[in-house]
């Protein structure tokens, strides 16, 4: 592994040597934020429940801080800072149910259905409800990407420690 790292050092960007691809930027920021935070957390081991919450909090915080170019990260930061308890970014089951219900409607309701779904999507995105739809759709795109990167990072952290 060390060898690989050293070899990578020798590589250069082919197209834009001075730029680091943004996904890498994000990933780096993210892991660099999260890992020390986790280490700090690890020092004081609380109950597992509280620990979970704080870990989630740290995870979200790292996400928001690593993606500050995007509007949703600001909203996420606001949410996180306003409450000590981490707000979960998942709103899983209820939304799923609602979506299935909506898909039963047909015909003239189609536009309304789409509006409903757009609103659902807005709820998923931090701060999505404060944006208009077009903006939200744009933000959702990069939110998805950052989430994906985040999952990769988390996975590798977890794998690294198990």
């Amino acid at each position: 592994m060390e060898r690989q790292i050293i070899n990578k050092k020798k590589r250069v960007f082919s197209v834009e040597p001075n730029k680091i691809p943004p996904s890498e930027v994000f990933t780096r920021k993210y892991t660099r934020l999260l890992v020390p935070a986790l280490k700090k957390l690890n020092m004081n081991k609380n109950s597992s429940q509280a620990n979970q919450l704080t870990v989630k909090h740290e995870v979200d915080m790292a996400l928001a801080l690593s993606a500050q170019e995007f509007a949703w990260s600001r909203f996420l930061l606001q949410k996180l800072s306003s409450s000590n308890n981490p707000t979960t970014t998942t709103s899983s089951s209820s939304n799923g149910i609602r979506i299935q219900k909506r898909s039963g409607k047909e015909g003239g309701d189609e536009d309304g259905e789409i509006e409903e779904k757009l609103r659902e999507l807005q709820k998923l995105l931090p701060g999505g409800e404060e944006m208009n739809v077009e903006e939200m759709l744009g933000e959702i795109g990069n939110y998805i990407k950052c989430l994906e990167l985040q999952t990769i990072a988390l996975k590798s952290i977890v794998e690294d420690t198990t």
Partner: protein, 352 residues
């Protein structure tokens, strides 16, 4: 002002004085929506857009509003804050309008939005001449995008001016069109009614907005794995929602796992990153080689190979190229913050 009253009445009955300003209320909207807009503007495709050089303050004030300074009848910069939402659809007309322009060439609808210059009546040459300074200010202020387009538009059919006028009176977007003599200097964004569709200004605006939304949804479609074959907004939205939810659930699950697992105190970040990026890089190289900073369309092959449920493997294939195109569109805030740390300075295309 009196002498210019004629030109003042673009289809918007706009207060002419500020027409120049209001026209300019279009910042480079390539930047207004970095996520989707492309940095390589095809001049034939790009729509509207003022360089902020002449009207920096206004450009700053309304980052979201690109295309239609004349949208509102108040016509002044103050009109914009009142309706950010409605202007926004046009704010991205480059992204959306680009496609419109493409379709326009087929003789179909005109998504092209042309910011008409002042004054419309052909008879008002004098007036036009008088106001030409103001009009010319605008084109100079504008980016080079639409110049060729405007030229060809205005030179193609003087008789369409009447139609345009009709449309104009119905749509707030259109400024005047009829000065073909002004054509080379103007950048115009025409919003023509499609065949068989209402030319109501509201419905036109609505349609543009909807098209913009569809445009974004198409881009999202390329992001979300397994959605390439889906047509239809509703299903697509479903997929997106499900995907986002599953991603969030994954994050939650992983963070729970993380909380239960004791992180080693010696997590080697670099090693982590090397492993991380190595994985993503390897999977990305086939597509990255094609188009490193491509727009999302360029990464389609990446996505289509993966199936939706396998979220764990998916992100690694799509992230690098996609996110970098994302950033490349104008975001990159601090790309090199971590450069000092990283052992992996050659992530994407080492073999090039």
């Amino acid at each position: 002002m009196g002498g210019e009253s004629n030109e003042g009445e673009m289809g918007l009955n706009h207060g002419d004085d500020q027409s120049g300003i209001s026209r300019v209320g279009m910042p480079l909207y390539a930047k207004s929506d970095p996520f989707f807009s492309s940095t390589d503007w095809d001049p034939a495709v790009n729509v509207g857009g003022f360089s902020s050089s002449h009207y920096p303050s206004l450009a700053m004030d309304n980052p979201g509003m690109s295309c239609f300074p004349h949208y509102h009848q108040t016509g002044s910069g103050s009109g914009y804050p009142d309706m950010p939402a409605s202007l926004l659809p046009f704010g991205d007309c480059g992204g959306g309008g680009g496609h419109f322009l493409g379709s326009d060439k087929k003789g179909e609808s005109v998504g092209r939005l042309v910011i008409a210059g002042d004054g419309h009546q052909v008879s008002d040459d004098v007036v036009l001449g008088g106001s030409s300074n103001r009009k010319r200010r605008q084109p100079e202020a504008e980016s080079q995008w639409n110049k060729q387009k405007a030229v060809e538009e205005f030179q193609e059919d003087p008789q369409s001016q009447k139609k345009q006028k009709n449309d104009q009176s119905k749509e707030k977007m259109n400024k005047e069109s009829s000065q073909s003599d002004e054509a080379p200097k103007e950048n115009y964004i025409h919003m023509r009614a499609r065949r068989g569709q209402a030319t109501n200004s509201h419905s036109l605006a609505e349609r543009v907005r909807r098209e913009k939304i569809s445009e974004r949804m198409r881009l999202l479609q390329e992001l979300v794995p397994g959605c390439n074959k889906i047509t239809g907004k509703a299903v697509m939205l479903d997929e997106i929602i499900n995907y986002v939810q599953s991603l969030q659930q994954q994050v939650e699950f992983l963070s729970m796992k993380l909380s239960t697992v004791n992180p080693e105190l010696n997590i080697d970040i670099d090693r982590l990153l090397a492993k991380d990026l190595l994985q993503s890089r390897d999977r990305n190289t086939p597509t990255l080689g094609l188009n490193p900073f491509a727009r999302f369309q360029g990464t389609i092959p990446n996505i289509s190979t993966t199936t939706a449920p396998q979220y764990n493997s998916l992100p690694q294939t799509t992230l690098e190229s996609e996110l970098q195109s994302l950033y490349q569109m104008g975001f990159v805030s601090n790309p090199s913050t971590m450069s000092s740390f990283s052992p992996n300075n050659g992530p994407l295309k080492p073999e090039f």
